[in-house]
Amino acid sequence: MKLTRRLFVGASAASAASLSAPMVMGQARPRVVVVGGGSGGATAARYIAKDSQGAIDVTLVEPSREYYTCYFSNLYLGGFRELDSLAHGYGTLASEYGINVVHDWAVGVDREARTVSLAGGATLPYDRLILSPGIDFVDGAVPGWDLSAQDVMPHAYKAGTQTALLKAQVQAMPEGGVFAMVAPPNPYRCPPGPYERVSMVAHMLKANNPTAKILIVDPKESFSKQGLFEEGWQKHYTGMIDRIGPDFGATNVEVRPDTMEVLIDGVAEKVDVCNVIPAQKAGRICELAGITDGNWAPVIPHTMQSRIDENIHVLGDASAQGDMPKSGFSANSQAKVAAMAVRGALTGSQVFPARFSNTCWSLIATDDGVKVGASYEATDEKIASVEGFVSQTGEDAALRKQTYEESIGWYNGIVADMFG
């Protein structure tokens, strides 16, 4: 019989199940620990608990009692959402799906003993571990900035209090003031995110402080949806936004939080608000677990298993998986593949071939939404994109409005998919 990719995946899962059978039979229920309660972790926990129907013991470790989605946080900056609407609790996962939700920090992984240690002192054993910690920032990525300066120059790239702080700062800008953004180098969470943020800040300033200026200091030659954003900025926020790219010194940037200055190639610019989005890396727990290669954690595309430890799966932003952008949609998609692989390995349930997709919506101005997306396939080398689409410049207003409304529907869909 011809060995197809699908048979190969199924056969692999069957082998894994038989190998793990003695361990599984020696205990009451196999145990899965999920670290990180965002788009990847919450989805994986829910799908494993839901689909295994109690056959697997699932523990979700997440320090926050309420999770604020990073996606749509820009819309809060622009005045299109309330901050509370981005907050989601874990009560349903606990009460309806039987997930043991632990609000604590994971501070270590003993891969030999297969345990996760928590800041509070507890130790959680696992048969499979899922790490979905999102991002952390690379130390020293922007000279002059570290986490101690985030109350002066917020990153607002983990939603919640930082987002509220950034909005308050923009609202307090003096008339005709300057909002600066130090944009991150690739790769980073949500490729269009910084530019949607610029759009939303511009929207707010246009209404309340129309002579204010926005300065983007960007180390990248180009960015996602660039043509769409630039068209939108010209149309809605004419003359308000300037972007300095690498040709004009944006790869040599320093900030001075004490004096609210941004130094671009040695030249100081005085600004009123400075949003510093530093270079990023996998959440620290991946490094502590010893499964990173450089800044990210490489994974096997068919199952999202770590290439360094097959008992660990890594989801979302933290993973080095190939072509999928770091996005909530991607993490949610990857979580379902990992959940299926974990169930197959621990209970012998059927494993279907991995499927991945992603769409990223961005809002440029009122009812002016754009999107980009693709479908992907798992290859042995990476998750590879096979077909994609992107909104076009010059689209009519009705289509842009429909695209925005579609994004609202997606938001409602994905949070229901994550939190039940």
Partner: protein, 234 residues
């Protein structure tokens, strides 16, 4: 995107053998194969134009579009007509350059073996598009045909398979049938569901998200989804 139609025709004309995404990707072997290209083309850090243009960031580049390289009129014309370099068009070009671009100065006669071309393309894409950073970048692999092996066909219509596949749908569509921004697909008659999905697949229905999703599904997979959603309690 206009290039896709052209490329579909090319694939038919020259019989380019579709290579599943699974096997596109031995970049290490592709690096070895690239040695025969290296007499004319440079690639990697510091690559410059020589007899041929440098090949960094080739995926997604319009044919004949580097400002600082003097192309043949034929290559410029191909670019003007919509030829964009991606996995499909590069495969056709490397197989037989002058069959794709009349008048190209590239004297290479062609690489006949599909696996050699796939490996070379894997090497080239390592120096090119990064959809993780720019999601709208050209695809870096080909979709598999999704024809199911007979042994797997036995699970077609299995509600469990439909439920698994539905995980991709419920990132956007809500299982409870809520209908805001994105329409509900819960409780649809099977026939309506299948007809709609095939209309997206053939791009008669216009939503690009759904065109992409439906395009990645085989007939049996669509039928399984239809069966699952038809009986899902609201």
């Amino acid at each position: 995107m206009k290039a896709y139609g052209l490329l579909a025709i090319m694939a038919t004309v020259w019989g380019s053998q579709a290579v599943a995404a699974d096997v596109l990707g031995d970049a290490a072997r592709g690096e070895t194969l690239f040695r025969q290209c290296a007499t004319c083309h440079q690639i990697g850090e510091g690559a410059a134009n020589r007899v041929g243009p440098h090949l960094n960031d080739l995926y997604g580049r319009k044919a004949g579009s580097l400002d600082d390289f003097r192309y043949s009129d034929g290559m410029v014309r191909a670019g003007t007509n919509g030829l964009v370099w991606d996995a499909e068009s590069l495969d056709a070009f490397i197989e037989k350059p002058r069959a794709l671009v009349s008048g190209t100065r590239m004297s290479y006669s062609g690489m006949r073996d599909p696996q050699d071309r796939a490996d070379l393309l894997a090497w080239l894409r390592g120096h090119s598009a990064s959809p993780a950073d720019i999601p709208e970048a050209e695809p870096t692999a080909r979709a598999s045909d999704h024809d199911l092996d007979p042994a797997i066909l036995a699970i077609a219509g299995d509600p469990a398979y439909g439920e698994y596949l539905a995980g991709e749908c419920t990132t956007c569509h809500q299982r409870d049938g809520s209908n805001q921004g994105i329409p509900s697909i819960t409780g649809w008659p099977v026939e309506d569901f299948v007809v709609a999905m095939h209309a997206y697949k053939s791009k008669k229905r216009m939503n690009p998200v759904m065109q992409t999703v439906a395009g990645s599904l085989g007939d049996q997979e669509i039928a399984s989804l239809a069966a699952y959603f038809a009986n899902l309690d609201q």
